[in-house]
């Protein structure tokens, strides 16, 4: 997984609440067996007309935001399905940070597994950032994970909270599975205990 340390880039304002995962990446693109190549279909039904042409007004089709690395959106971002294709599509497009007042649980989790940073701030702070992002060319939004700060183009600073474990893994680009496999002995001891206490839970040898 790529490390996330600091990021300076354009932020696209997406003024919608409850942006669900079907909207981030519709189901016809879930038929892939790869993690890559989904950026082209990110927000497909919002971004393209049925004939395949671009929807001019959609934010990611407008000049400064075509290269956005940050999305700022309304509350409950990523609700709906567990599809990790949603963070994969965002990443493949080039987005590595999402700022919203709140996120759905599974989506929030999935972001961290892929080096994508979800930041939640208050409704009021997000509205300020949305206004700042509206101001056309805005490539100086800066995210500093270590300091837990967002700096907007006006120089205003917004501090955010994040779990220490998630921060540690994201900052160092750590692979969870490798970490857990390091606890193989603890897992085995648990399995021993389970086969004594709750033997019916065990299937197979």
């Amino acid at each position: 997984m790529d490390k996330f340390t600091t990021l300076t880039g354009v932020a696209a304002p997406l003024r919608m609440i409850n942006i669900d995962t079907d909207r981030i990446i519709p189901k016809q693109f879930l038929k892939t067996i790869k993690r890559t190549g989904l950026g082209e279909f990110l927000f497909n039904d919002l971004r393209y007309n049925p004939d395949g042409s671009e929807v001019d007004e959609f934010v990611l089709n407008r000049p400064p935001y075509r290269h956005a690395q940050i999305v700022i959106a309304g509350r409950n971002f990523g609700c709906g399905s567990s599809r990790e294709h949603a963070p994969w599509a965002l990443l493949d497009f080039g987005i590595t940070c999402i700022i919203a007042p709140s996120f759905a649980d599974i989506f929030y989790n999935n972001c961290f597994k892929n080096g994508l940073l979800p930041i939640s701030l208050s409704e009021e702070q997000v509205h300020k950032l949305l206004d700042a992002a509206d101001a056309g060319s805005n490539e100086n939004f800066t995210i500093d994970l270590n300091a837990q700060r967002v700096t907007d183009p006006n120089g205003e600073i917004f501090e955010f909270k994040i779990d220490p474990f998630r921060k540690h893994c994201l900052f160092n680009g750590l692979d969870d599975i490798g970490l857990t496999l390091g606890k193989a002995a603890i897992i085995e001891a648990f399995e021993q205990k389970r086969s004594v206490q709750n033997p019916w839970l065990k299937l197979g040898p």
Binding site: R15, M16, I17, N18, D20, D22, R23, P26, K27, Q28, L30, K31, T32, I33, K34, R35, D45, P50, G74, R75, N76, C79, G80, S81, S82, R83, E84, P87, S102, A104, D105, I106, N109, N110, K113, N114, D163, P164, F165, H168, D176, I177, T180, L181, K183, I186, I187, F190, E191, R194, N198, P199, W200, L201, K202, L203, G204, P205
Partner: protein
């Protein structure tokens, strides 16, 4: 004495492998369900890092999202769908994971087959790369959806790194009136607390209206917990649960069954256990519900009218209602029972079980699907299909003009060939009415199986109570 604990607390405490002291715990996973859409990249990850599946016996794979629901013998025509199913088949062979192939009678939607085969057990932890894993909570199992990276983590280690969720209890007391079902209970809960109402929480459903539900009804309720943002839904195991499970294929037998029962009886929440949040509602006032918008929280009693965004004070919410109404092509103030429908979809992991089909048959018997309406019934599994046919339900459906299909997810999310055309309006027993969910431009109204059957025979949204 120990502090009183909730059902969730007990299952969680029983599965903590390691408290990492940083806000997360390593949790043991007893059962892992795998389907073709969210697993290919996980198996690929294992392959690339030279890892194996830690406990293949406690994993069960099945293809459901992409499978055709008619003419199975012809195979999967669409190439990308076929490749995904073939990839699953290759992966389960390579990694030694038990698999139910398309021609196995037990094939079906993951969340239908888990409880049906007794793979799902009370007190167990169950995960699947699918948000509706919450369904299995109806058996008193802690069951939740995970992403593909976590699927890989479970395959490799049989554990997950999780933050402990909070406890929430939703108490539904009273008796449902005729025509009011589990689906109406859960739709009205989501309408009340909203699609993010339970984010970060595990919901325990309690109260007389919940305990008097069948296992099928309980699964319908738990299934849609995720639509309220919950991490999982849970219902305390009781005599109904035990009776449902006893004798199923993968359930412990003989002495092991007795031992399991003794343990399961200790699972219900202790008297005085504290919940971080409590919500309650009365079932006796409940009316059949339908959705009018593009979020499951947009549900109203069928006796109401399409809402007017002008009445909404929250600016963002108002914009979202306006957008929904434009997408749904509905005018504020229209009585819901005046809304005509083109298609009917009965099935999915929410309402694709035998009891759901019986409810449909009760409405369909002696009636005909209205002129111009296409109505399809997709059983949740091969076993559901077999049972329905043994009861002769298929004949009632076919006689009434419904299509009777092969099991799978089908038009719940339209990854296979079953989908809405742009502008088509559908009465659906599934769980999501998001824009484009059942096909680009398609318009979904969520409702119970009985309500969907009523819409099928009248050609518009109908209060099923008039037909009972």
């Amino acid at each position: 004495m120990n502090a009183p604990r909730t059902l969730f607390d007990k299952i969680w405490d029983d599965h903590v492998v390691h408290d990492q002291n940083d806000g997360t715990c390593l949790i043991y996973i007893d059962r892992h369900l795998v389907h073709e859409v969210t697993s290919p990249q996980a198996f690929e990850g294992l392959r690339l890092s030279g890892r194996e599946v830690h406990r293949p016996e406690e994993t069960l794979a099945v293809a459901d999202h992409n499978v055709p629901t008619s003419n199975r013998a012809a195979g999967i025509i669409e190439e990308t769908s076929r490749v995904q199913v073939e990839t699953l088949e290759r992966n389960v062979t390579e990694f030694g994971v038990p698999y139910l192939p398309l021609d196995d009678l037990r094939q079906g939607i993951v969340h239908i087959i888990g409880p049906e085969l007794g793979f799902t057990l009370p007190g167990a932890t169950i995960v699947c790369g699918d948000s509706h894993t919450s369904t299995h909570g109806a058996c008193g199992a802690l069951a939740f959806g995970i992403g593909t990276s976590e699927v890989e983590h479970v395959l490799a280690t049989q554990t997950l790194i999780q933050k402990r969720p909070q406890n929430m209890r939703i108490t539904v007391d009273g008796e449902c009136r005729p025509g009011v079902t589990a689906k109406d209970i859960i739709l009205s809960i989501i309408a009340q607390i909203g699609t993010a109402g339970a984010t970060g929480h595990v919901i325990e459903y309690a109260g007389s209206a919940i305990t008097s539900l069948s296992m099928e009804g309980r699964m319908t309720v738990c299934n849609m917990s995720i639509e309220a943002g919950a991490r999982a839904g849970l219902i305390a195991p009781d005599a109904v649960t035990f009776e449902y499970l006893e004798g199923r294929q993968m359930v412990p037998k003989g002495g092991a069954w007795e031992q399991a029962l003794a343990n399961w009886r200790t699972l219900p929440s202790d008297e005085g256990a504290v919940y971080d949040r409590e919500v309650s509602l009365s079932a006796s006032e409940l009316v059949p519900h339908v959705t009018w918008g593009t979020s499951p929280q947009d549900a109203l009693p069928v006796t109401s009218e399409v809402p007017d965004p002008a009445g909404e004070v929250d600016v963002e919410r108002r914009a979202s209602i306006e957008r929904s109404l434009a997408y749904m092509d509905l005018a504020p103030g229209t009585p819901l029972v005046k809304v005509p429908i083109d298609r009917v979809f009965i099935g999915s992991c929410t309402n694709g079980r035998i009891e759901d089909l019986r409810e449909v048959a009760a409405v369909a018997l002696g009636r005909r699907v209205a002129q111009g309406v296409g109505a399809m019934i997709v059983p949740g599994s091969g076993l559901v299909k077999e049972e329905a046919e043994e009861e002769g339900l298929d004949k009632i459906f076919i006689e009434a003009g419904f299509e009777w299909r092969e099991p799978g997810c089908s038009m719940c999310l339209a990854m296979n060939a079953d989908r809405l055309e742009p502008g088509e309006r559908c009465a659906s027993t599934s769980n999501r009415n998001f824009e484009g969910r059942q096909g680009r431009g398609g318009r979904t109204h969520l409702m119970s199986p009985a309500m969907a059957a009523a819409a099928a025979v009248t050609g518009h949204i109908t209060d099923v109570r008039a037909l009972l």
